[in-house]
């Protein structure tokens, strides 16, 4: 069995955490070839070559891959698909955009957000916001899969796989990039952070989110948010944790002013230790919290920041 794994690359830089976790999942399926795609991707390819379990890296560098638009990247993957039993990627927004397209072009189903590998044809994935786990067996010739990275361990580095250039495929030229509005931050990345502090509607305003950020900075944590906090404009969209946002499983998750709707729990209930601060003792978040504190967040959060 041979696996083609789409590396997560942003502006030429390899997202090591997401990619190396997907490698861990993919190793169980066969020989792993990583595909590095971008306007510049050589450095990322060289870095991916060091991940344990990678046997080869293919690098496709071309201006048309500059912003990982779905149509050209899918066309490239399909042009390379021939020898592979599995085509996989970490379940990032980029890969979720691309892999279903690849699957349809190959006339196969796609399995997204896979959390467990039973055997080469059989996989586990959460459904209904994680309220059920489905085990599915695929009868397709090629399995196309995205792996939920929060459930797989990081593969080590120290390998030295060969790196080989591949030529670009035809560009369908159906879409073009206009601009990115990406937040610059010195904080750890949300999905790989060891500690996450999240704020909800209870935080009340964008300004008050400073309290959440100050606590996060004290803990060296990433900042997350509930949907309500994002919808209300307190926090940017890429901070949303949940069923339809990011899924995190840090060592410590601190939920502040978040009620604990199932859609939010779907994104954080696999955290090792959960702390909830909420003024409503009936809030459902307390049913999953290891430590619950019934308090007004405007008192408790600054005090906690100070005492840590």
């Amino acid at each position: 069995m041979a696996v083609l794994l789409l590396a997560e690359i942003n502006d030429g830089a390899l997202a090591m955490d997401a990619t190396a976790k997907a490698v861990t999942a993919a190793k169980a399926l066969g020989d792993v070839t990583v595909l590095a795609v971008g306007a510049t991707a050589k450095a990322a390819a060289d870095e991916a070559a060091t991940i344990d379990g990678v046997s080869k890296v293919l690098v496709a560098e071309d201006a048309i891959y500059g912003h990982r638009l779905a149509e050209p990247v899918s066309a490239l993957i399909v042009s390379l698909a021939g020898g592979y039993s599995h085509i996989v990627a970490p379940a990032t927004t980029d890969a979720k955009n691309i892999l279903p397209r690849v699957a349809a072009l190959l006339d196969v189903m796609v399995l997204t957000d896979v959390t467990g590998v039973v055997d080469a044809d059989t996989f586990e994935r959460p459904i209904y916001a994680g309220n059920a786990i489905q085990t599915v067996k695929s009868s397709d010739a090629t399995k196309v899969i995205t792996f939920r990275t929060s459930t797989f361990d990081l593969a080590g580095t120290g390998g030295s796989a060969s790196v080989e250039a591949v030529s670009a495929a035809d560009n369908p030229a159906l879409s073009e990039w206009v601009e990115d509005k990406m937040a610059e931050s010195d904080r750890p990345e949300l999905t790989s952070a060891g500690v996450v502090v999240s704020g909800g509607r209870g935080v009340g305003s964008e300004e008050n989110f400073n309290l959440i950020e100050a606590l996060a900075d004290k803990l060296g944590a990433a900042v997350g948010a509930s949907r309500a906090a994002v919808d209300s404009g307190f926090a940017p969209n890429d901070w949303q944790v949940g069923q339809t946002g990011k899924v995190v499983a840090p060592d410590l998750y601190v939920a502040v002013g978040i009620s604990g709707a199932i859609q939010h729990l779907a994104g954080m209930k696999d955290s090792k230790v959960i702390v909830a601060i909420n003024k409503d003792e009936e809030a459902p978040i307390f049913q999953v919290a290891d430590y619950g504190l019934v308090a007004d967040l405007f008192d408790a959060v600054p005090e906690l920041t100070e005492k840590l």
């Binding site: 779905a70 279903p100 997204t112 059920a132 695929s138 159906l174 879409s175 990115d180 619950g292």
Partner: protein
Amino acid sequence: MKVLVPVKRVIDYNVKVRVKADGTGVDLANVKMSMNPFDEIAVEEAIRLKEAGKAEEVIAVSIGVKQAQETLRTALAMGADRAILVVAADDVHTDIEPLAVAKILAKVAEEEGAGLVVCGKQAIDNDLNATGQMMAALLGWAQATNANTLDVDGDNAVVAREVDGGLQTIKVKLPAIVTTDLRLNEPRYASLPNIMKAKKKPLDEKTPADYGVDASPRLEVVKTSEPGSREAGEMVGSVDELVAKLKEKGVV
């Protein structure tokens, strides 16, 4: 321009899901079903395009059991002009896979000469996030997933997409597929008069065979199980106690 809006009938997002004891799936008999929330956003967006004079007709399509008629009536009550129901299953527990759904939708889009398809980014039952992208592939169209804003401008659409790092804006050639994210709009409620009017709007019934599509699944569900549950821990009385506990645990 005609806008096609695929809408899926799913368990209502407020319902607590129960896994069947025999592990064959989730209990959907006698539970409240609704339109997939992302599809409400899609219907709203399509109606706004019509109101803005950028679309002539909004067609809602659903694939599934007969009861999906209700979901389509909701779309019609919100303001869609007509609806197509593709009856592909008898049992409410049968979920039609995105590949088959996309094949049917692609045929509908071609038949109708749709200039734009607006669908949800994700169905909240199977959580697959696949149909829009698959449909775009089958049609050879551009795709813009996770839309935060959508501007239709002549032969193009400009879409700001919610991505992991923030927002990415792209311009796609029409016809295209756009999938909705939560911030695209706030869907309207159907008014009572509009609910009445919707009953008279056309709703065609079809089958997958009418479109020459084999809807049989590629994936066999081996079993459905309960996730590992989490026990509630302890309540602490003060910030000091919390800090002490966290230190004891070694997480701070």
